[in-house]
């Protein structure tokens, strides 16, 4: 359980970091290392060089404003936990992040690392996709933003080019009265979820759901939205009948993997149950 040998450097600027990655196709960035280090210890990856982003300035900010929430790539889980304005600026994000790993890992793990690692069961990629977030990256030819829906292309696979570095996650504004729910299930606290559901909707003057969004993690090869469930919610009052129809649509909409941890049917059933729980929590919750 020791990583293969690699070179290491900790550049002081983003430009330097990108140049180092561009110069060596085997080089990989590292931030908190809480996903990459296990991969290295298991020798599932053998990068020629690690480019540590810890000295790169400007990646640590959390800002909330009229244009939404911006999380710098080096923001840690515990920073999100400790940031009081986020509780009302993005309650769904806070609730989801509360499920990430354990105390010690939360002290190191970062926003950028979670997005780049792209585990299908990870919470933050699920929130990014559900909310329609943008992921800002910088590469050799400058910066670009990638919609979260296009960023995650498969298990541990993203649209990032080799030399590109994630700088920021941008979540759209969150209206205060919005109703939301986040539910996941894992066998032990802090484990990766066997399945998870993030959802929210607004309500029109008549109390009908509008702008419904629902995303799945865990029971999928990458986080994705469930359009048929969104269709079953929009324009309806969220009552028992709507919730049952949504849960049924959610079960039909997923194609879960079968592995050591759970059979596909079990994960499919979980998606239905978690959809129901998340909708009940949303309907019972008043605003943020």
């Amino acid at each position: 359980m020791k990583p293969p040998p690699f070179e290491y450097c900790a550049p002081g600027t983003l430009e330097e970091a990108v140049a180092l990655l561009a110069a060596d196709p085997g080089a990989r960035p590292i931030a908190g290392g809480q996903s990459l280090m296990p991969v290295l210890n298991f020798r599932l990856a053998s990068p020629s060089m690690l480019v540590d982003l810890r000295r790169v300035p400007g990646l640590n900010g959390i800002t909330t404003g009229a244009d939404g929430v911006r999380l710098g790539a080096n923001v840690r889980w515990r920073d999100i936990e400790d940031d009081a304005p986020l509780a009302s600026a993005h309650p769904l994000l806070r609730a989801a992040v509360a499920h990430v790993a354990h105390y010690q890992i939360r002290n190191r793990g970062t926003v950028g690392g979670s997005l780049a690692h792209a585990d299908p069961a990870a919470e933050l990629p699920g929130i990014a996709v559900t909310c329609g977030a943008q992921i800002a990256v910088v590469g050799a030819s400058g910066g670009r933003t990638i919609p979260a829906a296009e960023f995650f292309t498969g298990p541990l696979t993203t649209a990032l080019r080799g030399e590109e570095i994630i700088t920021e996650l941008r979540l759209p504004p969150w209206p205060a009265p919005r109703r939301w729910g986040f539910e996941e299930f894992s066998r032990r606290q802090g484990d990766f979820a066997l399945a998870g559901i993030a959802l929210f909707y607004d309500e029109d003057a008549q109390g009908h759901a509008a702008n419904a969004r629902i995303g799945v993690i865990g029971a999928c090869s990458r986080p994705h939205r469930l359009a048929s469930v969104e269709g079953a919610l929009n324009g309806r009052v969220i009552d028992d009948e709507t919730i049952a129809a949504a849960a049924s649509a959610a079960r039909a909409a997923v194609d879960p993997p079968q592995d050591l941890h759970a059979p596909a049917d079990y994960r499919r059933a979980l998606v239905g149950t978690l959809t129901e729980r998340a909708l009940r929590a949303a309907a019972a919750r008043r605003g943020g």
């Binding site: 020791k2 990583p3 809480q34 280090m37 210890n41 354990h102 105390y103 002290n107």
Partner: protein, 158 residues
């Protein structure tokens, strides 16, 4: 490559390969073998040390990444005059048996209570869920941490 940091209040410089974890550096280079290595992939919590005030898994941190940091290991917790109140509570409640997980339990609980001396049982259980114990079970460990809170509250007062 050389890396410098402070361990238990003492500045040190060591020569390590970039791939050396902080855990291996502490154990093999600095002979601080109180930090235990269990799973080596961030699951068991035995290797927990405190880096700049925050409990982290030293198997998931490269020694070179800790450059300039202030590190506290389990050896740094005990005092000249004897056991700390947290360690005393562990002994009193039989919160250890084989002792393998104990360094990680102590460093984690110390970091938690230093920041949150009023942590309730639910919070303590949630935090300790990142540390595996295969002997005593968790009830005596949680009892010990609950009892040690009083000492951290006193230490908080000016």
């Amino acid at each position: 490559m050389p890396v410098g940091f402070t361990v238990n209040g003492k500045p040190v410089t060591v020569e390590v390969e970039p791939r050396t974890s902080l855990a291996d550096c502490l154990r093999d280079k600095l002979r601080l073998t109180g930090t235990h290595l269990g799973c080596e992939h961030g699951v068991c919590g035995a290797c927990t040390v405190i880096v700049d005030g925050a409990a982290v898994r030293s198997c998931l941190l490269l020694a070179v990444q800790a450059e300039g940091s202030d590190i506290v290991t389990v050896e740094g917790l005990s005092q000249e005059e004897g056991l700390t109140p947290l360690q005393t509570a562990f002994r009193k409640h039989h919160a250890l048996q084989c002792g393998f997980c104990t360094p990680g339990m102590l460093t984690t609980a110390h970091a938690l209570l230093s920041e949150e001396p009023n942590a309730d049982e639910e919070r303590i259980r949630s935090v300790l869920s990142g540390n595996l114990c295969r002997c005593t079970g968790y009830i005596p460990i949680v009892e010990a941490v609950l009892e040690a809170r009083a000492a951290y509250r006193k230490a908080d007062k000016p």
